[in-house]
């Protein structure tokens, strides 16, 4: 197990990943991750726009995990008071002179189709189309299933320097693992 951990670190290094978190994510944690990344990129003299874009991708991805990950711990304290912790992975790295942000979490197979379609659409759009689409969607009421404005993925695609990359890996009859990469 101990040697595996070093191998794990080497794997991350090889992929250019300098920050990686896997486990239950909370709002407080998002803020701490944001501030340590800000410090790190500050040392590397990244531009203010770049720092804010990386921060923004981390927040959107982490809040997606907090709101939607299908892997969760539930603690039923009383009938009304329920504490939920949802799990996922967030990683940040640097390759070919660009920062990138990765996220991954479990998703129910029955929800994967719709998300795949949505992301494929965003992947096919250019910058101008994404800007226009963002403004159109912002004027609409969000989907019933959305816990926010339903704009997170469009916002990331718009701020990214390259088309978003994503993958759905089937785990079993119920779940898949969703992962996504955005380059800043």
């Amino acid at each position: 197990m101990l040697t595996d951990l070093y191998k794990f670190k080497q794997d991350l290094n090889r992929q250019g990943i300098f920050f990686c978190f896997s486990g239950p994510i909370s709002q407080n944690l998002v803020s701490e991750i944001g501030s340590i990344l800000e410090q790190k990129m500050g040392l590397e003299k990244a531009s203010r726009s770049t720092v804010l874009r990386v921060f923004s991708m981390v927040v959107e991805k982490a809040q997606n995990i907090i709101h939607y990950s299908a892997e969760k711990y539930i603690d039923k304290k009383t009938d009304r008071d329920e504490i939920e912790l949802r799990l996922g992975i967030i990683a940040v790295g640097y390759e070919n002179n660009h920062y990138f942000v990765l996220c991954g979490n479990k998703i129910h197979n029955k929800k994967a189709g719709k998300l795949k379609k949505k992301l494929a659409l965003l992947q096919s759009m250019n910058k101008e189309e994404l800007k226009k689409y963002y403004r159109e969607q912002r004027k609409k009421e969000p989907d019933k299933e959305s816990k926010g404005a339903g704009l997170g993925f469009i916002d990331m695609a718009k701020k990214a320097n390259k088309p978003i990359e994503f993958d759905f890996k089937k785990i079993d009859d119920e779940m898949s693992f969703f992962s996504m990469k955005t380059v800043i």
Binding site: S31, S56, V59, R135, R138, A149, L151, G152, I154, K159
Partner: protein, 130 residues
Amino acid sequence: MENLIIEETKFSPSIVFDGEKHSLSITGKSYPENTSVFYAPVFSWLEDYIEKLDDNQEVGVNIELIYFNSSSSKVLLDFFDILDEAAEDGKSIAVNWIYEEDDEDSLEFGEEFKEDYESLTFNLVEKKPE
């Protein structure tokens, strides 16, 4: 009416809405866990305020958000919609969209909002880093 004052947190901005000075300010970062819960009192104060506002009253709105997430962006649109409607009714409302010098995305957001509204005065104000 009572002023609305909400203290800044790590994820939510400071809100200072002063109904006597007719000055409304939102400052800080905005990515609360539940955006609609956080902004509900802000909207209910604003609607009350606009209803009681005299015609031709000048109102100054300062938005200085270092960072806002995508659901806060929707909130801003709803917020400006209300102000624009009041401006159409004859109120004189000016928004200062204050963005950091090197923040291209915030400038772009400001430019797009400015384009969207006709009655509302929308100023883009660049701020030098401290």
